[in-house]
């Protein structure tokens, strides 16, 4: 006789064994090393570190290997590891004005102090499959300029700020920043939590939202004021020391979007900012983040907030791909009981015409 599925434990074990074998693939082909992933799939590593909220190339590479290149799964693996780590404290704010620049462009000014530095980019490549890569082979050595890039490159927003044409940065509150991985998100959220949420948010989701705001679902008129990528020092002030020490350098991409603002009763017309920051070379993410950040400020700036990208609750509650992926895929879990309840209801409703002749049968039960 057929009895409801038994033996889940063995089935799960075997499913995992099968998956491990699939992950490894053809044993005649050499196993991928973490160095290869971190070195040659670096942009994937950058994305996993950014959305996984852990700056560790080796762990991110391991997660990508374990997840067979499924980046959302890799992000989940890294997050689940991160959650077990002790918190020592918060670093000092990164000084991105002191960044060792590898790339810096502004679409707002033709030239500016420090100049435009293209750096490593796929922009302007013609997207033609390069069949030379099939065989491997070494690329040309990078060209080296005679004049190194300027050590201090003023940020474009600061250049505008000198004339008061762009809003200033809000003053630092001195309070430690909130952390939505420790505290539940309360709404309305402060900008620190919004930016944390966006930095961890799914790149595809933010990209689509940013795009929607550009296409008219939102009222952003953005300019890429500045995009810069390079290494910055991370400083931490241990309590027992009392002053900050450098604990390492990381590569980040920063984007400052400049947006029109017509002014309000309190503020004269001026440019406003949208801010994006992400680990590694993650320009698409940083730009999308900056656009969405500005869109989410609609309420604060007294603009009408009628579109999805401007709706704080909508954006913040749906940006996380680990949450979204889990909940969408939980539909794979058994729902026999709920479904049975619905079946029973549908059958009753279909039988209802006869039942109506005998009113209140259910009520009498």
């Amino acid at each position: 006789m057929y009895v409801a599925v038994k033996g889940g434990e063995k089935a799960i074990d075997n499913a995992h064994r099968l998956m491990a074998a699939e992950r490894r693939g053809d044993p005649a082909v050499p196993d991928l090393t973490l160095d290869q992933i971190a070195g040659q799939l670096g942009l994937a590593v950058d994305r996993v570190m950014t959305e996984g909220s852990v700056h560790d190339r080796e762990l991110a590479a391991l997660a990508i290997k374990q997840a067979q290149g499924d980046l959302v799964e890799a992000i989940f693996l890294l997050r689940a590891y991160r959650t077990t780590l002790a918190r020592f404290g918060a670093s000092e704010p990164l000084d991105t004005a002191a960044m060792a620049i590898r790339r810096r462009i502004s679409s707002a000014f033709k030239d500016l102090p420090g100049g435009q530095v293209l750096g490593p980019t796929y922009d302007y490549t013609h997207r033609l499959l390069d069949f030379a890569l099939v065989e491997g082979g070494e690329p040309e050595a990078p060209a080296v300029s005679d004049c190194p890039v300027d050590e201090r490159m003023p940020r474009v927003a600061n250049v505008l700020g000198q004339q008061g044409l762009i809003e200033g940065n809000p003053p630092a509150s001195g309070a430690p920043p909130d952390d939505l991985t420790r505290q539940p998100l309360a709404l309305p959220a402060g900008r620190d939590l919004r930016l944390q949420n966006l930095a961890r948010g799914d790149e595809g989701f933010l990209l689509a939202l940013a795009y929607s705001a550009q296409r008219g679902y939102g009222n952003t008129h953005p300019f890429a004021g500045e995009i810069r990528m390079g290494t910055v020092a991370v400083e931490f002030a241990p309590e027992e020391l009392g002053f900050a020490v450098e604990i390492g350098e990381i590569t980040v991409t920063e984007c400052q979007m400049i947006n029109q603002f017509r002014g309000s009763r309190e503020m004269p017309p001026q440019f406003t900012r949208g801010y994006g920051l992400a680990f590694g070379k993650t320009e698409r993410k940083a730009m999308a983040m900056a656009l969405v950040d500005r869109s989410l400020r609609a309420g604060d700036l007294g603009e009408e907030a009628a579109n999805p990208a401007q709706d704080e609750e909508f954006v913040l509650m749906h940006s996380d791909n680990v949450e979204a992926s889990g909940f969408v895929q939980h539909l794979k879990l058994p729902h026999y009981v709920d479904f049975q309840s619905e079946l029973e209801l549908i059958r009753r409703l279909r039988a209802a015409p006869q039942e109506r002749n005998a009113p209140d049968r259910e009520a009498a039960e």
Binding site: A4, A80, T181, L187, G326, H330
Partner: protein, 283 residues
């Protein structure tokens, strides 16, 4: 089974457990109220019981005996996975018998066997907010709870009556706890709703992705919403369980062939097995 190296007892660190216990205490003090808590990222996916797992981890002790069910059954894949998680990370005893368990983590059912004082029933909750389908905004629904403004839910149930001649909610059926907070019982069938009322066991609800914990303390009034002329009623089947012969439990429908063949079996596997034993012993 040996426990996993490098992790604390029951996976979560003690600070996190304390934070969750504080949320649980608040939830017990305000029955039915959804307490926000700093839900952690767990090594299992959101929507697969992360809230229930965190609550279980926070209240689990080395001497506890844990039972995990999904759809009433101990052997469904996700129940197996969660039971193993605690067997590996906490090394606690596990059981499939409701009477032997001190902690029962459940998804979508309340066991048929009546619970007793001292037991804790922990529900996995996907969406904790009972008003969510009526009002998608958390900022609004929190206000509605603060004002006990539950008219929208009554209107929704009334619209069911007007349209279908009955209330057409069959699971996750809204309840009022201690006459104050509207509560979502998680997607248990309404068949199980009456078991929540004046239950001697402590009932805890954990929603990990939504970061909420709520509770029904022992011997608390839990009332399923209804109308005087359309009183609350539970599902009934014309059949009995094909395995144990029971006619008073929640039955799952099993399709046996492609010619319309069906059989009905208890969704609560422990309850069914116990009754089969009694029946065999009598024969």
């Amino acid at each position: 089974m040996s426990t996993v190296q490098g992790y604390n007892f029951a996976y979560l660190d003690e600070q996190t457990k304390r934070m969750i216990r504080r949320a649980i205490l608040k939830a017990v003090a305000i029955p039915g109220y959804q307490v926000p808590f700093g839900s952690r990222e767990m090594p299992l996916p959101y929507g697969w019981g992360t809230g229930g797992i965190q609550v279980t981890a926070a209240v689990l002790g080395p001497s506890d005996t844990l039972k995990v069910i999904d759809q009433g059954a101990d052997d469904t894949t996700n129940a197996v996975s969660i039971r193993r998680f605690f067997a590996r990370t906490a090394g606690v005893a596990t059981t499939e018998r409701t009477v032997e368990a001190t902690l029962i983590q459940t998804r979508h059912r309340i066991p048929e066997t009546p619970l007793r004082e001292g037991q804790i029933l922990i529900y996995q909750v996907p969406i904790p907010e009972p008003l969510r389908w009526l009002e998608p905004r958390e900022t609004e629904t929190r206000k509605m709870h603060a004002l006990a403004d539950y008219g929208a839910m009554h209107v929704k149930l009334y619209e069911d009556v007007a349209r279908f001649g009955r209330i057409a909610t069959t699971y996750d059926y809204p309840v009022l706890v201690q006459g104050r907070y509207l509560m979502r019982p998680s997607p248990i069938p309404k068949f199980d709703n009456p078991k929540m009322h004046m239950n001697p066991a402590l009932q805890l609800f954990g929603a990990g992705r939504e970061k909420r914990i709520y509770a029904v303390p022992p011997y608390t009034e839990v009332k399923s919403l209804d109308f005087e002329d359309h009183p609350f009623a539970v599902q009934r089947w014309d059949q009995a369980c094909a395995l144990c012969g029971g006619a008073d439990s929640f039955l799952d429908e099993v399709v046996t062939d492609d010619r319309g063949g069906r059989m009905y079996v208890c969704s609560d596997t422990d309850h069914c097995a116990a009754r089969q034993e009694i029946r065999e012993a009598a024969e």
